[in-house]
Symmetry: C2
């Protein structure tokens, strides 16, 4: 059963990856459309050996589309999603624009694919930092019910789009040459620095990025009693977010049990041979679809608590891969 697909924001970093994943995963594509803003008109993108012109994102563009996958900023999503839904498409939206609306399922297939069933034309994919965390939390939560998470992130500059990558590379080169670089994507220099702000500050002293980790986690697990204390930090890494995670559970989980649970879980790969220097790092998890877990150990400060380290490609599982996996479930009816 082939599906007609539109990729919205097709020329961006994540949109480009969505296209690549549809090809690589042999998604049953009927017709495909690449939609973008006027700036990208005139460009052609290759798909399955064919050169396809980029089209303007407008209400008419969604006619005949079954699934629209949106990799756009929030404000663009607010514009196109109603058009796509009105045209009869189901939208898989990677932006934050619709994630917390009650009638929009927020889905990570390994965690809550069953939520897809309740969709009313829009399915949201979570924020990158949330997605990898909930994949890692899932087997522990199923086994022992997670009550509280303290998470601190090391987030790559690719999370700020192509301009973020340029800033890191050019900013680093300038710093090495003792030159100046005018940053475009960041308000502080990111080369050889760490910046404890991603997004804008809320009244409670947390950033929008941090509150996504709190609120999206509860929605995905459909459990408002899970407490999360997040600190989100940008680091001078090109791609892959790393997270230091401490989870307190209702019942005890040993390190050996946790390792077995992680190993048996869908979407997780355990890299945990610390004595041999084997643990996840951006340097060994890039361009992979899995959520990598390592440094699994007992939290020595509390009973029923575990600490671990989690790395995943924020453009893949954190964005494009998760959206394509949702689209696959939609297409196959497997949810």
């Amino acid at each position: 059963m082939k599906k007609n697909i539109a990729i919205v924001g097709a020329t961006g970093a994540v949109g480009t990856l969505v296209k690549k994943l549809l090809e690589a995963r042999e998604f049953p594509v009927g017709k495909i459309k690449f939609l973008a803003s006027a700036r990208s008109l005139g460009r052609k993108l290759e798909f399955a050996g064919e050169q396809i012109p980029v089209e303007l994102m407008n209400p008419e563009a969604f006619k005949g589309i079954d699934i629209a996958i949106g990799s756009t900023p929030d404000e663009i999503a607010r514009e196109f999603v109603p058009w796509a839904v009105a045209a009869g498409a189901v939208v898989v939206d990677e932006s934050a624009a619709h994630r917390m609306l009650p009638h929009v399922p927020l889905v990570v297939p390994e965690v809550n694919s069953e939520a897809i069933a309740g969709h009313q034309g829009i399915i949201a994919s979570p924020n990158c930092s949330t997605t990898q965390m909930v994949v890692a939390m899932k087997p522990l939560h199923d086994a022992a019910r997670i009550r509280r998470v303290v998470v601190t992130t090391y987030q790559a500059t690719s999370g700020a789009g192509l301009a973020g990558d340029v800033d890191l590379l050019e900013g680093s080169r300038a710093a090495l040459d003792q030159q100046e670089w005018k940053y475009q994507a960041f308000s502080h220099p990111i080369a050889f620095n760490v910046v404890p702000q991603i997004g804008s500050f809320q009244d409670n002293g947390y950033t929008s990025e941090e509150m996504k980790m709190v609120l999206e986690t509860r929605k995905i697990f459909a459990d408002e009693t899970i407490d999360v204390c997040p600190t989100c930090v940008r680091v001078p890494v090109r791609n892959c977010h790393s997270e230091s995670i401490v989870v307190e559970t209702e019942s005890p989980v040993s390190v050996a049990q946790a390792r077995s649970l992680f190993e048996a879980a869908s979407g997780i790969r355990v890299l945990d041979e610390p004595d041999s220097g084997v643990y996840p790092m951006p340097g060994n998890c890039d361009d992979r679809d899995d959520v990598f877990v390592g440094r699994i150990r007992r939290d020595i400060s509390r009973e029923n608590s575990l600490a671990f380290w989690c790395v995943s490609d924020n453009l893949r599982k954190g964005a494009a891969t998760n959206a394509v996996q949702i689209a696959e479930r939609l297409a196959s009816g497997d949810y």
Copy 2:
């Protein structure tokens, strides 16, 4: 009352800074000796306008020395400290070699200068990641008794000495030029990467660096009931360690109270205007003696718990400054 001083490991990154601080802070120096291994013989170092030859570290070198400040690896400290003590000097040892010995005070002057009184010839200065954390913990602990800390670090390459800095700069340049760099100080590439290992792994799954944060904190506060869950991570930053800290206290502390306590505390500077993008970062805390604190907020996942962000120059307050402050207290009798 001038004191005769020996700087041991005088040609290293921290030893060089100790020398600079003694001059800048107008330490009452009588005679000064620069001691190092045979490799540095023949070098001269300037102090107060005078060129002073580096001398070989041996048992005779400590004759007539009042205070020896050691900025050496553990194995060198194990060699020279007994010589210095036998010669009648008091040693301020920055290495980890003697820190946990019961008869050796482990001192951060802002926290426990009174412990200096009990010394028997050796006073230890803590690990860099511990020092900045306990300075920040002190006012909260005094006000509300800290029961548990979850800390995740972002540690600079200068913590691995001069070779660490070379590795970061040359490794970054090589990566930008798509060349290879053979790392000397690190077992994994650190350029554009984060590495969740500092030191060697213990049986409990924590690294030696992490266990220092647990054990040294308890010793400094003389409170074995303080629990710490640490995760220590190397990041591609030249200098200054950053720490994400969550502290649970026995009694409640509001954010406003915490800010006042931090502002009134010795050795702490508050940089906390998040709406204006003001918070501590390696980029704005380098080459300063203070411990910088920002992003002070309620831990939304638990009662009686606070989250904050802490940055300090690991070569200064994390090493040289703390040692010189201990020496100043010794010299003045102010403890």
